[in-house]
């Protein structure tokens, strides 16, 4: 068990290290001089030189890389060129919107998918099953930002139940949560349909296994076999999808922020791109990749909790 855990930690650190090198190379090395890129074509040589000094570009590649990584480990991401404030502060503000949104959506999606998936399996071939299958097809096919627009059209414009966008802030928890609810549903519903379908097919496959027949031969009813024996075994493929969905939800959150005018990481990074603020872009992408790698690590741990064969 300990060896498995250490192994996964090592793999996570290695992934982070390689990812940071890739990002560093893509942004700071391959395109040429970041300072002249950031300032554009009309910049004076003097301005470029000043920026180079400010960004510490005069040092060697390795020194710059180590300084960047070292800073991130201590929570220092450098100074945003356009905003003139520490990037860490910017990220902190924006993370307070994006992270709760992704987690909110993940919880919603899981909470909807598990009962629905089990129901579809139990009523195989009947209308709840067909409904889940159809919903899953649509869930996969629908672009979530467009689904978000449709929700805005229906709930904000036609029915006027909620406001069309903006973020109320966390001063009042309820208000903050309320302004994230429609975006979270827009993200979660299609994913829930997909997850329910994955759970259904994993359960059906599990129900074909020999040990299910053994359980039935012991006298367990269909229902009890499903809950006691099939669900936990089907949990393994479902965990994989759940892990993938988190990175999907995170990316989805970044895009959907545009529909709802939420001041999250997505808006920050797109502003960074338009304003050529490489420091912001670099830090936020690293943060996103870190989140995905962390979730992969957690999924690996969950595997071991579910499946004793992995604990060695």
């Amino acid at each position: 068990m300990l060896s498995y855990f250490l192994n996964r930690v090592l793999a996570m650190i290695l992934s982070l290290a390689v990812a940071s090198v890739v990002i560093f190379c893509l942004i700071e090395v391959i395109p040429g001089d970041p300072a002249s890129f950031m300032l554009g074509l009309n910049a004076t040589d003097e301005a470029v030189a000043n920026l180079r000094a400010e960004l510490g570009l005069d040092g060697g590649l390795l020194t710059r890389y180590l300084a960047w990584v070292g800073g991130m480990v201590q929570g220092e991401f450098g100074l945003s060129y356009t905003y003139r404030v520490p990037v860490a502060d910017l990220i902190q503000d924006r993370l307070a919107v994006s992270l709760p949104l992704a987690i909110y959506a993940l919880i919603l999606s899981t909470a909807l998918a598990i009962p629905v998936g089990v129901l579809a399996t139990a009523k195989r071939g009947a209308w709840p099953d067909l409904g889940v299958m159809a919903a899953a097809q649509i869930g996969i096919a629908i672009p979530n930002f467009w689904f978000a627009m449709l929700l805005v059209l229906l709930f904000a414009i036609k029915l006027q139940w909620v406001s069309a966008g903006g973020f109320a802030g966390w001063d009042s928890f309820g208000a903050g949560l309320a302004s994230l609810t429609l975006p979270a549903f827009a993200l979660a519903l299609p994913q829930a349909a997909i997850l329910a379908r994955v759970l259904r097919s994993a359960l059906l496959e599990t129900l074909e296994q020999d040990y299910i027949r053994t359980a039935r031969a012991k006298g367990l009813s269909r229902r009890r076999t499903l809950w006691r024996h099939a669900l936990r075994n089907a949990g393994i493929p479902v965990m994989t999808i759940l892990g993938l969905q988190f990175s999907f939800l995170l990316a989805g959150a970044i895009i959907i922020e545009n529909v709802f005018f939420l001041p999250g990481l997505g808006r920050l990074i797109f502003q960074g791109i338009t304003q050529r603020d490489l420091i912001v872009v670099e830090s936020v992408t690293m943060l996103l990749v870190f989140a995905v790698i962390l979730v992969t690590f957690l999924v690996d741990l969950a595997y071991a909790a579910l499946d004793p064969r992995l604990r060695r």
């Binding site: 893509l26 890129f37 996969i140 096919a141 629908i142 990316a251 990749v289």
Partner: protein, 273 residues
């Protein structure tokens, strides 16, 4: 042989959009690059079958050329993904349990850690947004998918006796991969390609929606949605039509993929007998 119903329906939808896109190469009802503010925001009419947008462009023509953009980007991305991923997967399977396999699979995991969007952001941040960069971003993300499917399909075949028989005949791993492994996993790869096709359409739409895809004046479904967003209170149809096209095409491709999988699955064929 009975053809799966989902394959027929999905294939018909996909072919419809493919035909629209091909037609748009030769002919569109109205030029999409010319702006005619005088004709802006018209309802459907005999001249403009689906009306015009806020710049006076014909929506039907925009949708047709948009289909062409989406399909071209997705197909090119599959080309990159399959072209690199399938050989990598075959190679990994021959190296199973050894360093080469480990290296390829770890590399895959790493690309998976960058969502397609993040790759696109990185590329566009340094090279500027364009359709080509969108293809590159989506294509890179397709590589590990194809590599995994190929490897996962190839590994069980490598344990079968007919592979051992081929090795007793003195055949190299490369030749066995091409003669025995690839033809037997082609089904899996084709089905995966239809899935990646539909995901590519979605990714292209998302990228052009946030301005990282095809640049003006090339029309694309995603950018039509972005432009429609400010008009949503007054002209919701501008937002509904391109989204519906995306969903219909993706749905069609997924149905075709599911149908194709069932059609090609030899296990299913056996149970039918």
């Amino acid at each position: 042989m009975t053809v799966q119903r989902s394959l027929i329906i999905g294939g018909a939808i996909s072919l419809f959009f493919l035909a629209l896109a091909t037609l748009s190469l030769l002919w569109v009802p109205h030029e999409v690059t010319s702006l005619a503010i005088a004709n802006r925001l018209q309802g459907p009419s005999a001249t403009y079958l689906l009306g015009t947008d806020q710049f006076g462009r014909d929506i039907l023509s925009l949708l047709m050329v948009g289909a062409q953009t989406s399909i071209a980007v997705a197909v090119a991305a599959i080309g990159i993904g399959a072209g690199v991923g399938v050989p990598l997967g075959l190679l990994a399977a021959t190296q199973h349990g050894r360093f080469g396999d480990e290296l390829i699979m770890r590399g895959n995991d790493l690309i998976f850690a960058f969502p397609a969007l993040v790759i696109a952001i990185l590329i566009t941040a340094t090279y500027g947004p364009s359709a080509f960069n969108a293809i590159l971003a989506i294509g890179i993300f397709n590589i590990p998918v194809f590599a995994r499917v190929t490897r996962a399909g190839a590994l069980p075949i490598w344990t079968l006796d007919y592979i051992l028989a081929a090795r007793v005949a003195g055949k190299s791993k490369l030749r066995i991969s091409l003669e025995h492994i690839l033809p037997n996993i082609l089904n899996l790869i084709i089905v995966q390609a239809t899935i990646q096709f539909s995901l590519g359409i979605l990714a292209e739409a998302a990228l052009s929606y946030v301005g990282l895809g095809a640049q003006p004046p090339t029309p694309s479904w995603g950018r039509m949605l972005a432009e429609a967003q400010t008009m949503i209170y007054t002209h919701p149809m501008l937002a509904i039509l391109p989204g519906a096209c995306i969903m219909a095409l993706v749905l069609g491709l997924n149905l075709a993929g599911d149908g194709l999988r069932d059609q090609l699955d030899p296990r299913l064929e056996r149970t039918l007998k």
